[in-house]
Structure formats: C-alpha cells, structure tokens
Subunit: 498 residues, 2 copies
C-alpha cells in the first residue's frame, strides 16, 4: 500500500467512528429514553476515546507528517492537500499539549460544566464562581502550550473563527455599537405590535409539518435531510448526504420554532451544499463558526424576517394555521420584527441580539486582559446591560448565569454570532449586485435562486476557505459593519415609521 | 488481569460495537433519509464485520475456552457460567464452518434475498426459483458442518427455538389442525361483523399517542422505552434499559397498528423485564423465537383481543377516537376478532393465522425430507391453501411468494409463531390458576398484575431458560395444544353464537 492508501484506510475507519459518535449524540438528544442515557453515554465515550486515540496515535501522525513532506505533498490533489495541511496543523497543535495538562483541563472543565446548570437553576452565583475561575486559568494554561507566544484571547477567537482577531472585532463591533444603541433607543420608544395576538394554539405536529415545508421551500434536498425534536434546536451531520436539524415546538408560541427551523435550515444548507469531492476529508469539516452563523442568520434574518419571504407561501401558512388569515401578513411581519430590550440573548430580536453579543465580547476581552476578575463579573454584566439595553437583570440567572458557553470553556465563541450578521450585511450587498433586489426575488417565490447563489459562492467550498477569503472573493472588500448598519437602519426606520 | 477480567474487557468492547450496529440499524429504518442510506449501510457493515472478527478471533475463543475449563468454570457465578457455556457452544458451532463455506453461503443467500422482492413485486416465480433452490442446498451444506449428523430441519428449528423438534411439532400442530379446520369452517359460515364501519380516518399522530398510552397501560417502563415509525413494525433493543418498538400507522385502518403496538409491546416487555444481572451477557440475549412470540401474542391475542382489556380504557379510546363512541365496545370487540379465510399471513386473524403457519411448516418439513422440490412449491402451496382455508391464491405474489423468510434462508423460523400461541394456551391456564380469571383482572384495569406475573415467572430469566424449561417450571406439564384449542373453542363459540 502507498502512504496515501494507508492514510485513507485509517481515515475511513476514523470516519466510521465519527458516524457512530455522531449518531449516538443524535440519539441521545432525540430518541433515547432517559433510562437508556447512561449506557448510551458510556458507548459514546468509548467511541470518542477510541477516535481520539486513533487520530492522535504516532502511527497516524507519522503518516500525516510523511504526506506533508514536499515530495509526497506535491503528488496530492487539492482535496488531499487541504486535508493533510489542516490535519498536520491541528495534530501539531494538539501534540504540543502534554497529556497530563489535557487531562487536567478535561477535569476542570467538566466540574464547571456540571455546576453551571445547578447554579443557573438555583440562581446561585457563589457555587459557580470558583469553578469558572479555574476554567479561565486552565484555558490560559492550555493556550500557553498549544499557541505559545500568542495573545490568549486572540488564540481562542481563532479556534472558532480562523484568522479573526480582537483588533478587527474591536473595530467592527465598535462601529456597530455606536449606531445600534441610538437606533434601538428610537425603535423601542415607538409604538409596538401586539404580541398577544400570536399565543393561540398551533399543535406540535402542524408546526413540524410547516417547518419541513419551509426548509424544503428554501431549497433543502429532502432526500439528504432529517428533522426531529429536542430540548434545544441544533444542526448536525453524519456526512454531506445526512444533514439533520432539530427543533423545540411551542404550542402557544409558534413563531419561535418557525424561525429556529429557518436558522438551523441555513446551517443545514451550508453542510448539504459542500462539494462531494470533499466527503470524508477536512474540507467537509466546517469549523468556522462566524461563517456558519452567517449562513443560518442570512436565512433567519435577512431572508426570513423580510415580508417578501412570506408572500408566496402565505396561502399555505393560512391553510396550516387558519388564525393567520384574519391577522394578515402585515401584522405577522411586524411581530417577527418586534424589537424589545430583554434579558435573555437566545430570545432576543434581530437588533438587540447584536448588543447581547457585544456585551459578552467586551467582558471576555477584559477577562483575558486581566481587567475583570470573576468576582466582578455579575456587577460588570449588569452595568453593561444598563449601558447597552437600559435594563438591569433582577437576578444572576437572567444575567451572568444565562449562557452555558463559559461553563465548558468556550471563550471566544460568542463573537462568531455577531460576526455572522456583519458578514450577512456584506453578503446581502453582493447577492443584490449579482441577482438584483432580494425583495423581488423573494416576492417571486424564487428563494432557491438565492440558495443557488450561496451554494456557488460560499457553500460548495466547505472548510477550504476561511471567512476572510470568502469575503475577499465574494465581496471584494474587507470586513465592515457598514452594510449591516445600513440594512438595519433602512429596515427598522420603515417598520417603525421613525 | 485475570482471565475473567480480560474476557469482560473484550465483551465490553463487543457490546459497544453491538450498540453501534443496533443504533445504526434503528436509524436506517426510522430516521435516516434515503440519500444517507448508502453511507450508513457502509458504516453498519464496517461495525458488523469488525464485531464478527473480534467475536470469532482466536484470542477471544481462547479466553472462552479457558474459562470453560472445569477449574476456571467453577469459580464463575451463575450469570457468567451461562454466558461462557452459551458462548463456547455457539463459537464451537461457528468454528466448525469453514470460512469459504460461510462466504459462499452469504453470497448465495444475498442473491436470493435481492431477487425475492422483485419476484414478489412482479409476481414472477420463475426468477426466484433457482436462487431459492440454491439457498436450500446451501442451508443443507452449512448444517452438515455446524450440526453434523443431525437432521437438517431439526437443526434449523433448533436455531430458532432451542430444544424443539419435528416430532413434537408434528404432534401439537397435528392436534391443533384437526380441531381448528372444522372450527374455522363453522366460524366463517356464521354472520360476520361489518368491517366497513372502521375505515374512518384516525390521524397518524393520534394513533401514535394512543399506542404509547396502551403500552404504558400494559406495564411498559416508559423511562426505558421508545417508539418510532417504519414500513414494517418491529422490536429492537440496545440493552435492557433501551427497548424500542416501531409501527406503521394506517390512517384508514387504525385497528391494525393498534394491535401491532400491543404485539411489539409484548416483545418489548419481555426484553425490558430481563433481570439486570444479565446485562451485557448471553443471559440477556433471548434468541428463542417461540418463547418470544408467546409473549407478544399473549398480549396481542389472549389479552388484547379480550373485551375486558378494553373496558377500563374505553372512555380514553372514545376521547381519542370519537367515532368509537357511537360504534360501541361490543362492535369493536367483534371486529378485532373478525375471522375470515384470507391469503396473507401477516393480515390474518388469530384463528386462521395458525393455519397459515401450519401450511408453511408442513411445506418446509417436506422440502428437507426431499419430498417437495422447488419446482412443485407453487402447486403444493395452493393445494394446501385449498385444504386448510378453502381458497386458492389468484397469483404467486399472494401465495408462495408472500413471505421473505425463505429468501434469506430462515427455514425453521415459521413454526415459532404458532408454538408461541400454543404456549400461550398453557400460560393462560397457569396465570388463571395463580391469579384467577383474566376477565376479572382485565375488567378491573389490573393488567399490570398479569405483566408482573409474566415478569416473575418468565421474563426475568431472559435467555437462561429455554421454552421447555419455562413450560416445565411455569405449567408443570409437557407441551400440548389442548389449552389453546379450548381457549379458541370457548371464545369463538361465544362470539359467533355457534
């Protein structure tokens, strides 16, 4: 067997193990009964551990290293070149971390991840303080091995959005903050729609059917797609031909699950539309969360919260949810763009969501600069809420304790959400330059043309282009919050008659 | 590590692989989209093959063999004694089969299994004839290695119902046939209920909810149970704490899925109620199909087709299916015991189902005695249908081609279905001896008392007691069709006013 054949053989096995863990995770969240979860978790741990062992074994590393040597590397096609390059870089990084430090970090993070839900449930910051502080220290320690000499927070951001730095984020988040705070102030002072009109019952099975209808309408290949129910919506995939989303239907609040479906549907389209030539290689493993969020949010916000998205399917909507007929599309449109200052990020509207992310980013940045201690966190959180949204959480559960991200050490993840939206402002300009007004495309029922455009310019490349490359190729310009600011200002000035 | 520790380590790994294949099979049938099935099948094949390799490796066999030696064996507890004994026997049997014969048999059976659905769909016996003949010859060849010196058909029966032989089956099926044919003749000549009353629409989600309600009512631990939808209903389990059934809801024929749920629910209760001490060992792997069918059929027929099963839950039934209120429980009871001579086994009622199985048993027996050739099969099938049910299939698709069992070489499986019912006649007597009339128990809404009895006397032992041992311990007597005949005669004489 050639080196490449040996490598591909190992890779195939790793992919089978990945299929097993992916499916076990899916089953854990969707179908497995509670009593079955302990054994299922054991099996999941077994396959994850074996996967980790196999992918970090000397045998595998030697194959990767040999294939990365110029003589061998030159013989590879582009798909395998990207795969080997990426694998080599990730393995080198991982191998810099001593086994005992890795084990220590797993222990520290697990402890904090276990305590967080209890702290949130009982609104008890005091029990979470120490494990969180330990997680922060551990994160710094890990980064000192994996990314020596690099600013810790920059290294963390890079994990979730390759190539991104605090400098860039400071600039675009700063620009956005400056325009957004006064805009939100104006919007929330204007007359608001009546949300109570939308609390009538829509049975879960009707919502499930409707969500399926809508993702198909968006251009999902239903032959390679599945949907199910979980506590929290997410997207996952076993491979390019097996992409799945979940939802949590709420019988007296159908709008939220509807937009979850559109959001997860955007993630799923990105995964489905990756070129098949990347199947089973690093090119199909998209770990750029900003870019991924840009796709889910493009569908959820830029398209889904546009009235023209709903026009062609309004008769269908009214057929499935007869109450909508009397309410009318205009009222529905106002409700799905209803802006209010609220405490919980995951329930926030398109506009204030940005401020929730800015708050978290600014806090994370100061933590790793050493300017904010864990002791200060609740106070700093509440001050920033006041500053950005003019409200103060009544307790830590609806304040600093609300998100799970910090509990498992995912510092640097939050900015991706908002970067996604900032990219979207730029993508919107690029789409309209190529295809004309999206209002017209949507109103004509041609949303699949937009999906085809996104596939051609973004999706098909999978992980082989990081966000800055995508922006460069697609928009021909550097990252800027201006297009998003323009979109927000135009849209909400109209809706709220400012 | 001691020998036992080494063995348990291997076994744990095999169980994890079993979990992966079990879950992949479940996913293939329930959730995976069509486009994902090829890669899922590849992964399933990988894990099955690796499992097979591991479980038949010399290393594993040596451990089993050493633990089976008297000195080591005596040190084991009862759970491990059964496990080692059973594993040793099965491995010895498997190792007698030369690898090339095994491979040949897989090829031959695959060919026949692939052609069968085509033959059935196109009603073309001619394309299936040769592959079927090859499968029969291959079956004989395999058995000549695995069970040398044993009658081939007895060896096949033993695979699905350990300890059972043609002599015993000839006796009990013969007794049953003699009484059943005239009883069915009388029943079908009597006035019949009006099935057309039951074709109103019951939405699939209502049926799913109702089926869940009913298996819980039967005593299912819902914390260790899941249900889903598939083309054909089945029961599967990952382990004792993860037992799952599937169903195929029919919007204009709700009774069939309802009884599928009760049937599969019976299988599931058996699997759930196995004592946890057998977890992960041969004691939890129940391969006695007759005994397994006796549990599913006990719930489906003996309990589920008794009017008293429905009395306590009739208000709930009418709440979920309002049409039933006007129809009334008496009419429903007649419909669920509606006897008619029909062609398709899987759609047959409680009485004629027995004759469908007897037909298949008698044909299989004669095939392996060399008295019936594949060439004769359609003719013999139709003659027997005439003899037993006085009807003649209009074509082979509704005759000899209807079942998949022969296509994959599962000769000897059919008799288990009817053996299950024959055991049930005996179990019914035993239950009533201990607990009193089941009519009263059911009418009082105490079905869980019957489930507790079955758990105590049958389920908890899992695979550690074969059927004949169960009959001996539970009924204290040898296999006999008389109790079933008595139950049939009493029940149908009343229902049909004979």
């Amino acid at each position: 067997m050639t080196l490449l054949e040996q490598y591909l053989e190992k890779k195939k096995e790793l992919n089978y193990f990945g299929h097993a863990t992916g499916l076990m995770y899916w089953d854990l969240e969707t179908t497995a009964p509670d009593g079955a979860k302990e054994k299922l978790s054991d099996a999941l741990t077994y396959f994850s551990t074996e996967s980790f062992k196999k992918s970090t074994s000397d045998e595998y590393y030697n194959l990767v290293t040999k294939l990365a040597e110029p003589e061998e590397f030159e013989k590879l096609d582009d798909v395998m070149k990207f795969d080997i390059m990426r694998n080599k870089r990730d393995l080198d990084k991982m191998r810099r971390l001593p086994a005992e430090v890795y084990e220590e970090s797993v222990k520290v993070t697990n402890k904090s991840a276990i305590i967080w839900p209890k702290a949130k449930q009982t609104n008890d910051w005091s029990i979470y303080k120490e494990p969180l502080a330990a997680t922060i220290e551990m994160t710094k320690k890990v980064k000192s091995y994996t990314d020596p000499g690099k600013d810790v927070y920059d290294a963390l951001i890079d994990d979730y959005e390759e190539g991104m730095t605090q400098d860039t984020i400071d600039k675009v988040f700063g620009d956005l903050r400056q325009e957004l705070v006064p805009l939100v102030n104006k919007v929330v002072a204007a007359p608001q729609p009546d949300s109570s009109k939308f609390t009538f019952k829509v049975p879960a099975h009707v919502q499930a059917e409707l969500c399926k209808y809508i993702v198909e309408y968006m251009g999902m290949d239903m032959n390679r797609f599945a949907q199910s129910e979980t506590e929290h919506p997410f997207t996952t995939n076993m491979n390019i031909d097996d992409v799945r989303i979940t939802n949590h239907y709420k019988e007296h609040a159908f709008i939220e699950p509807l937009f979850s479906a559109i959001h997860e549907g955007g993630h799923a389209l990105f995964e489905q539309n990756v070129d098949h030539k990347y199947e089973g290689t690093a090119g199909a493993s998209i770990s750029y969360m900003g870019l991924h969020e840009s796709q889910s949010r493009f569908y959820e916000n830029i398209l889904g919260r546009n009235i023209n998205f709903w026009k062609p399917i309004w008769p269908k909507m009214c057929e499935m949810i007869p109450e909508l007929k009397e309410i009318g599309i205009e009222e529905f449109y106002k409700e799905i763009n209803h802006v209010q200052n609220s405490f919980i990020r995951t329930e926030a509207d398109e506009l204030t969501y940005c401020l929730h992310v800015i708050l978290r980013y600014e806090i994370e940045r100061e933590i790793f600069k050493g300017n904010v201690t864990v002791e200060d966190l609740p106070k700093v959180w509440n001050q920033k809420m006041e500053e950005l949204l003019h409200i103060t959480p009544r307790n830590d559960a609806e304040g600093v304790l609300q998100d799970m991200h910090w509990s498992d050490g995912s510092f640097g993840y939050f900015p991706s959400y908002l970067l996604g939206s900032i990219y979207d402002g730029m993508f919107l300009e690029a789409v309209e330059k190529d295809l004309g007004s999206i209002d017209d495309i949507l109103a004509a029922g041609d949303i699949k043309k937009i999906t085809a455009w996104l596939k051609e310019h973004i999706h098909q490349y999978g992980a082989t282009r990081i966000s800055s490359e995508v922006l460069d190729k697609v928009c021909g310009q550097e990252l800027s919050a201006k297009p998003l600011i323009k979109y927000f200002t135009d849209k909400y000035t109209k809706i709220y008659n400012l």
